[in-house]
């Protein structure tokens, strides 16, 4: 794609558009805005493909982080215009997913089902308060201090919870890499 191969972009879109849409939908809770995020994400991926370095992470990480960033930009802009309460995003999805529905690894578009299962298991093993702050940070794009304010917890506690939760998720993935072929 970095060489301007349009078919590579088309293939990336066909493989990942729905997953990008899913993320944007969970962050924004608005189908039209999620549509726009899908287009913006792949357009940005096309324009910045030359800067993508596979040594720094997989394609999925690169694409998902672009999509998250685009969706959070919109969410923050919405908050600035003060209608955050009118059309809230979906922060809380991880809690809902794990407590009410059970964690469901996606049935399509996954680079590694094993990786997702490991993450799902690690996430399920997190205490609810850690899962909650991860949820607010990843899907809500909230800063440490915003999370502290919303949860009425001390800032230090929030930072510790995020650090511990992320360490567990990372260790679970690292463990999987070591076990892998």
């Amino acid at each position: 794609m970095a060489d301007g191969d349009e078919s590579a972009l088309a293939a990336l879109y066909d493989g990942w558009a729905e997953r990008v849409y899913t993320l944007a939908h969970w962050i924004l809770n608005d189908p039209d805005e999620a549509d726009d995020v899908v287009e913006e994400t792949f357009w940005q991926a096309w324009r910045t493909a030359g800067r993508y370095d596979s040594k720094r992470g997989g394609t999925s990480t690169w694409l998902i982080m672009i999509a998250r960033s685009r969706a959070l930009d919109r969410l923050r802009s919405r908050r600035r215009w003060a209608d955050w309460s009118a059309t809230p995003g979906n922060a809380g999805v991880l809690l809902e997913t794990t407590s009410a529905m059970g964690i469901k690894p996606p049935d399509a578009h996954s680079e590694s089902a094993e990786r997702e299962s490991a993450l799902a298991a690690a996430l399920e093993g997190l205490p609810p308060d850690q899962r909650r702050v991860i949820d607010m940070a990843f899907f809500g794009g909230l800063s440490h201090s915003e999370i502290a304010e919303q949860t009425a917890e001390p800032l230090g506690t929030v930072k510790t919870r995020i650090r511990l939760a992320m360490q567990k998720l990372r260790h679970r993935l690292a463990h999987l890499r070591e076990e892998g072929p």
């Binding site: 972009l9 088309a10 729905e18 982080m65 690894p105 997702e116 993450l119 995020i162 650090r163």
Partner: protein, 167 residues
């Protein structure tokens, strides 16, 4: 502060950095540390992998196939439009410039020739006509650029605000 202590302190910032939560002084300090610590760079990538993995755990939301296809079409035409705008601009400018310089030189020679042969109005007329043509060409080129710029802006606005007509 010892190097080891600083490294440990920076490692504590990595989980939040993986979620893009750092800002200000903390972010700057970590950035500076990463330039000299490949181990922390590797860990940061692992944290980012873990963060991105969270997006794969939420229940999939199915997209209407018509909307999926409409966005694909818009994206590919946007890519195509960007490519077309780049290519002729680079080649077209060289071609136009070459012709304009050649025509200007011809105009100068013709007018110069007519001045030294005072009764030969044909040469003078040809020279003036050449200058008029060059002027027209420059004007046309300018308008063409304005049209391209407007088209580019229009494409940008449409991409931002256009909604799928089926929605």
């Amino acid at each position: 502060m010892s190097q080891g202590l600083r490294h440990e302190e920076m490692q504590e910032l990595l989980p939040a950095a993986g979620l893009d939560m750092l800002e200000g002084a903390e972010l700057e300090r970590l950035r500076a540390h990463l330039t000299a610590c490949p181990g922390c760079v590797e860990q940061l990538h692992q944290y980012r992998d873990a963060a991105a993995g969270l997006a794969l755990l939420v229940p999939a939301v199915r997209m209407d196939p018509a909307r999926l296809a409409a966005i694909r079409t818009r994206l590919m035409s946007r890519v195509g439009a960007g490519r077309e705008m780049k290519r002729p601009a680079a080649l077209g400018l060289d071609r136009w410039l070459g012709w304009m310089v050649a025509a200007s030189l011809a105009g100068v020679l013709l007018v110069h020739h007519s001045v030294h042969r005072t009764l030969d109005f044909g040469w003078f007329l040809a020279g003036v006509l050449t200058f008029v043509l060059v002027g027209l060409a420059v004007y046309a080129r300018k308008q063409q650029r304005r049209a391209s710029e407007l088209q580019r802006r229009l494409d940008g606005s449409q991409a931002t605000f256009r909604r799928d007509p089926t929605s």
